[in-house]
Symmetry: C2
Subunit: 309 residues, 2 copies
């Protein structure tokens, strides 16, 4: 099986879940017992200490949820904060999640053209030529990608998808308040920018459709815009949607429903803070039980979604 | 002086040049004597060897051109290729260029929303809270940014610009062949997407104008589209343009002319391969003289630009 959408569907069925757990570690919200421990271990190298805190925290979350969800999504900004040490933590987080049988979306929102896009693609989910030897570097299963540069900026990523069974999720309609600034602009023909990008995604992914009928070229569609999601579901029948905006950003289970097809497939729903830092808001969990709280949050979210899907 | 545009203009006047040298190292084009040396030094760690080759190569280029140009622009994709070691080389390249009195644009084309955009901004040109201590991490002077997410994705970067005298260049009309896929779409009111984004950039940067009349919120406008550049120069009179596409991508000095204002300011023109790998194409330089060849390429480009500006 060398199509990302097929692999994703297999994992969704195996786990009985469409949740994507966002791994966006925020150092000041990582439980104090972990922070104290790493500061004792690396008192002279605080960036290394931060990286180790992130790795330990993420491993705890992954151990607690890997049997319940198909996929996780580390957001690289929260790792780049700590320079090359943080980037190491990003790479090790991906490796650990994969070792537990999870698929991994590297949420990098990269974009550039030609040889630069090719370099991003090789680095994040392809192979890199290191003095004549081919090596996987970050080795993610899928990436998030920005479409502002058009086809030139997408093609190098799709070529790596084909070669290594990887997937991409292209930003179409994002979950934030001002996503309409550009995405809702209305064209002469009555279409909005997000609809046109949706049409592009549909055609860019047309040759990448797997045995289950879904393409390895997917779309990011925010849970906060259910009306637009309904339109986009029709425009991109074969695309998998990565749906941010559930929970902390205000989207509920009813809001994500339009992102799914009638077969119950076609979308994964991301939650980050609502799961990883559940211990802060949920009754009955101490900070030492942050992983237990995350597991409970995933179970609750699985139930919440199943009730409407 | 705490406005990026003011600092840039000061450097442009000091050096008598509007060239931005793109530092996009490609391992297989780095001279063989450097590659042989690092492989001998780090035979067991090829990623570290690659990082060291990049650092040595970049230092050679920087030493050869720092008195001739105001600014350099490393493109992070070519560093991410080598994982955290490559990212270290990126950080050390920025630090070295700054130590030689150059300004540095980190060409990262980052984009995200809210707290994630804030994390990118802190990491790349702001301060990061590392266990209670504020630290500059990548410490660039300016970043390239993608506008697909609207104001939410721009604001956190502008806040860091204000605090630390940094600058951003927002993608408006890029130099690639398919940049029109999205950027040339025509709205109901007759404007194209790139013109609308140009208007956004003008208004987003209106409060960031320095003593010289230019804003620290700039725009990326490709040398390959001079007609569009002419329009954009009028739409964004106060924005500095970062102009890619000169040389290797086909743009000439006449093509970049519309990017400048009548005061001879308002743009910097990037060249990457044409300078850093000049030794491959220019007669009379051995690979050991790659830095000399780069200096000659910069001198030629300075002359070429001065003839038309």
């Amino acid at each position: 099986m060398n199509n990302f959408a097929d692999k994703l569907i297999e994992k969704i069925r195996e786990k009985g879940s469409v949740i994507c757990v966002g791994l966006d570690p925020r150092l000041n919200q990582i439980p104090k017992f972990i922070r104290d421990k790493v500061l004792k271990e690396y008192p002279e190298n605080k960036l290394k200490a931060a990286a180790e805190a992130i790795i330990e925290f993420n491993k705890g979350i992954i151990d607690a949820v890997y049997d319940l969800v198909p996929i996780v999504k580390p957001q690289i900004a929260f790792y780049e904060l700590f320079g090359e040490e943080g980037v190491r933590a990003f790479r090790e987080t991906i490796a650990y999640a994969k070792s537990k049988g999870l698929l991994v979306i590297a949420d990098v929102k990269r974009n550039d053209i030609g040889s630069t896009a090719k370099a991003y693609a090789e680095a994040h989910f392809g192979e890199v030529d290191v003095f004549g030897e081919k090596e996987f570097i970050f080795d993610a299963d899928a990436l998030t990608i920005t479409p502002y540069l058009g086809w030139d900026g997408i093609k190098p990523f799709i070529e790596v998808c084909q070669k290594h069974g990887r997937g991409i999720f292209i930003l179409v309609k994002t979950s934030n308040t001002s996503s309409g600034d550009l995405q809702d602009l209305c064209m002469k023909d009555g279409n909005s920018v997000y609809e046109i990008i949706g049409n592009f995604v549909d055609s860019w992914g047309a040759d990448e459709i797997g045995e289950e009928g879904y393409s390895s070229v997917g779309a990011v569609v925010g849970a906060t815009y259910p009306e637009q999601a309904k339109k986009l579901r029709k425009i991109m029948p074969n695309a998998f949607f990565l749906v941010p905006g559930y929970g902390a950003q205000g989207g509920g289970a009813q809001d994500v429903k339009p992102c799914f097809n009638k077969d119950g497939l076609g979308a994964i729903v991301n939650s980050s803070r609502g799961i990883t830092f559940a211990y802060e808001k949920m009754d009955g969990f101490s900070e030492k039980e942050y992983a237990k709280a995350a597991r409970k949050a995933v179970q609750d979210m699985n139930k919440d979604l199943k009730a409407v899907l």
